[in-house]
């Protein structure tokens, strides 16, 4: 008989920690610190009763994500799918759930769309959209306003819709579905239904664009890749799903958390107003500090590999704890302190690491720089309208942040 990999939970490990320590919604779960010190490669249980390795140290996280023997292919046996959230099912799963060479081939079809030069050219447009939303915000002075709804979500949502060629008028539809896909608490069948609904929506959109491809990412994919036989209709729809979902809640939640942190740290906010040139480094530090990806990335080992003194065997899954790596004191001095002038903040792994590192990171950076700087400049007296413990934090979601952020000024 061939050797079977033991998938039962050996010592009843705990699930992936998600609760921040009491009193500080900005810090990652306390368990991560203990694990980094005592058992940096440990076991966790997944919702279906199987188990996975959990990596909590920065060096191990980079080693795992930088090594393609840890596969991203979600169809491989042993991939830790249980409890994973995201935009695509196993069929037409999008390139982030593939390995080279398919991953490379598909990713390269869109890399130029997100390159630094292209994104920098969008900066004035992103500033214009932000200013418009801030004008609308200004008119609501005096009443408590939800900053997530008024600014944090619309900016990235408008931008990605524009780039992809998805009508922003449909934002209620795709924002609702994205929210379901990224929820940790809804039932698997409800998530599958949301996935199906998003697939149908994008399927129709791609069909319409096949007749009339516009000057946008989906239009270009159709003309340059689909009509030449490189990819299929379904693959265009999978691109759309991936980019639409990835472009939404990530940046939106970073904006919300960053705004809240700066409102609670007036000296830092004042320093950024005085020295606007610090904004780039401040955004890197906010990315490191908040590390909003709370549910992965995940990999499966394709061969036996030793990491951090542990043997991970072929067919075993690994969950990588981004928030833990970014608070590793062996890399970041006084890691729990927000220091917008930290010299090595950009070594963070908030965008992941390795060949799957976030494709949209240049866009996310520009959006964050523009929105945060504009908000600080235009609303210097903005403050939360409710106490911290009344702000609903997203411990129920794969992307951390706040569900809503009532502010006043």
């Amino acid at each position: 008989m061939t050797e079977m990999i033991d998938t039962t939970v050996p010592a009843a490990p705990a699930p992936l920690p998600v609760q921040p320590p009491s009193g500080c919604p900005f810090d990652p779960p306390t368990e991560f610190g203990t694990l980094r010190a005592e058992e940096p490669i440990s076991r966790i249980s997944l919702p279906d009763g199987s188990w996975s390795w959990l990596a909590t140290r920065y060096a191990d996280i980079r080693a795992i994500l930088g090594d393609t023997r840890f596969s991203s292919d979600t169809t491989l046996h042993g991939y830790p799918l249980s409890g994973m959230t995201g935009g695509a099912s196993t069929k037409n799963r999008g390139f982030i759930r593939m390995d080279p060479p398919e991953h490379t081939r598909l990713r390269r079809m869109v890399t130029r769309e997100f390159m630094v030069k292209r994104v920098e050219a969008l900066r004035p447009e992103i500033q214009r959209l932000t200013d418009e939303l801030c004008d609308a915000l200004e008119r609501r002075a005096g009443e408590p306003v939800d900053l997530v709804e008024a600014l944090a979500l619309p900016v990235p949502s408008l931008v990605i819709s524009l780039l992809l060629g998805v009508p922003y008028d449909d934002h209620d539809v795709f924002q609702r579905l994205t929210g379901k896909l990224l929820s940790r608490t809804i039932a698997e069948d409800e998530r599958e239904a949301a996935r199906g609904e998003l697939r149908d929506y994008l399927d129709q959109l791609v069909t319409a664009k096949e007749k009339e491809p516009g000057d946008d990412i989906l239009g270009r994919l159709i003309v340059e890749q689909q009509q030449t036989g490189e990819i299929t209709h379904d693959e265009v729809a999978a691109f759309a799903a991936l980019l639409l979902v990835a472009g939404h809640e990530t940046t939106a939640n970073m904006i919300g958390l960053s705004a809240l942190t700066l409102m609670r740290s007036p000296e830092t906010a004042e320093r950024l107003r005085r020295e606007p040139g610090l904004i780039r480094g401040a955004v890197e530090e906010l990315l490191r500090f908040h590390s909003i990806i709370r549910n992965g990335p995940r990999r499966v080992a394709t061969t036996d590999i030793e990491i951090g003194g542990r043997l991970i065997r072929a067919g075993e899954g690994v969950v990588v704890a981004v928030p833990s790596g970014n608070r590793d004191a062996t890399v970041f001095e006084a890691p729990d302190r927000l220091d917008i002038a930290r010299p090595n903040s950009q070594h963070h792994v908030a965008f992941g690491y390795g060949i799957h590192q976030c494709l949209g990171q240049a866009l996310a950076r520009v959006e964050l720089q523009v929105v945060i700087a504009t908000l600080l400049r235009r609303f210097p007296t903005m403050r939360p309208a409710v106490p911290l413990d009344e702000i609903p934090f997203r411990t129920d979601m794969a992307i951390y942040g706040c569900h809503s952020l009532p502010v006043t000024w």
Binding site: T111, R112, F114, V116, F351, G352, Q361
Partner: protein, 64 residues
């Protein structure tokens, strides 16, 4: 300092361009890294080392 790149491995996320724009650029067709200066002057060395350290795909090799 001498830089070599393995552009085949590049995943085009552009970290190198942000850190050392005088030394690295991205190809218009696909965003893959372009080495503008394989032997950059001393004032670029820190930025180049930083780019090599944060490049997610280990594309950039630096010989001092």
């Amino acid at each position: 300092m001498k830089i070599t790149i393995d552009a085949e491995k590049c995943c085009a996320a552009g970290q190198c361009v942000l850190v050392a724009p005088e030394v690295f650029d991205q190809r218009d067709e696909d965003g893959v890294v372009v080495l503008l200066d394989a032997e950059p002057p001393a004032e670029q060395h820190d930025a180049v080392r930083e780019a090599a350290a944060i490049c997610p795909a280990a594309v950039i090799e630096v010989q001092e």
